[in-house]
């Protein structure tokens, strides 16, 4: 590790000559990229594993990075919370972010979102692919909205396909005015058996 280039140096990041895997991006850029897509706090040990670097080296870099973001007064911040590292918005930007978040969301759900919610409610736990197959329309982004709005949540993965499964939440029941899922009215009884086959055929993943 002795000949390792300074990962903080933005100008000439090239060629870490040693075995350290990274031909292109340095440690700093690698951490930034991974943390950008991480949807929950990432423990140092995980980062060290993915990057194939010693844990203390990674930790030092994370601290340096967090300090530099603060020094540069960036709108984001790197913090260790709940045993892992994650990007957060900087405190003094919160009012703007709040405005952005509350402006961007509609009170009412779209028809597509309602239909997707209905399929999840009656087929849960169910994967996105299956819901898409049932509706004949891709529902990935609609499902994200439903999760964001707290109506639907993840419920493990399908043991066969590994696909993430979704179910409705307590908040959903509350909004519909029901005490429990058992209170959902029965579906009209005309669903033919073979719809399963159609779905299986179409469900990717």
């Amino acid at each position: 590790m002795s000949s390792e280039p300074n990962p903080q140096d933005p100008g000439d990041l090239q060629e870490p000559e040693d075995a350290a895997l990274l031909e292109g991006p340095g440690l700093r850029a690698s951490l930034e990229a991974i943390l950008l897509v991480a949807d929950e706090p990432v423990p140092v040990v995980v980062l060290a594993q993915v990057l194939e670097r010693p844990r203390n080296e990674v930790l030092a870099e994370l601290n340096a990075l967090a300090a530099s973001y603060t020094a540069e007064a960036r709108g984001f911040d790197l913090r260790e919370i709940a045993g892992g590292w994650r990007f957060y918005t900087r405190e003094d930007c919160a009012p703007l972010v709040e405005r952005f978040v509350s402006d961007a969301q509609e009170v009412r759900l779209t028809q597509a979102a309602l239909e997707t919610l209905a399929v999840v409610a009656y087929r849960q736990p169910v994967s996105r692919a299956r819901v898409s197959a049932v509706r004949g329309v891709n529902c990935d982004s609609v499902m994200r909205t439903l999760v964001l709005r707290g109506l639907v949540e993840e419920a493990g993965t399908d043991p066969e396909t590994g696909a993430i499964l979704y179910r409705t939440t307590g908040y959903f029941l509350e909004r519909l005015g029901l005490a429990s899922l058992e209170d959902l009215p029965a579906l009209a009884p005309f669903l033919p058996e073979d719809i399963e086959d159609i779905e299986d055929e179409n469900a990717r993943s």
Partner: protein
Amino acid sequence: MSMDGALGDPGGGTESPPRASGSGASFEVHLDVFEGPFDLLLALISKHKLDITEVALSQVTDEFIAYISERSDDWDLDQVSYFLVVAATLLDLKAARLLPSGEVEDEEDLALLEARDLLFARLLQYRAYKEVAAIFAARMTAAARRFPRRVPLEPRFAQLLPEVLLGLGPAEFARLASLALAPKPPPKVSTEHIHAPVVSIKEQARVIAALLAELGRASFRQLTVNAADSYEIVASFLALLDLYRDDAVTFEQVTPLGDLYVTWTGHWDADSVNELTESDG
């Protein structure tokens, strides 16, 4: 099915590419990779290292027809109809090349030229989209190396989201679910789940040959007036292509998409017709 390419003038044939001759031979390209007749035409033309010209069309006509014939057992109707339209045009053009070349004066020749230009135009058009499709594929591969930020809101912000208004009660919600879960009506004219009933092309060839030997000349419409279904019509058309290849019939089509007239050449006798049923099957 024999393919000795006895289709009149083999188009000047200076080049003699590996032709499909005999039942085993096939094109260098895999048969089932073509995305339709234009794709096939482009592949054949580029195989011969030709530009998209009249000569090129004429040179690949035999192979185009041979391709259709060879696959005649597993076509579905949707696919084959497009190939047949192109095949008919190609055959017309091929036939026209046998005419003494002179000034184009009459209506028929003009119509034929129009059909040819149309075919070129569509071929070029298809090629343009195909090129762009390749660019799409490359761009998608490149874009897949960039990952967008798409993470859940920090809890403090998630709390700010306004309450959701569903705007319907349980009963309406259940109705919505029933509708959403109901099997969608299959989009019209989809035949992909239909297994084509077995229609023997040889059998159709025999029927048509017998009819034509008697009538001498008839329109395709006449020949298929008794067809039980569209599969039989398609089989009849394929059979005609076989007969054409074997020099038993000639075609005339005055206008593109107009009636196709078939004339018995008289080169065949009753025995040849009977052999049809025995040759293979």
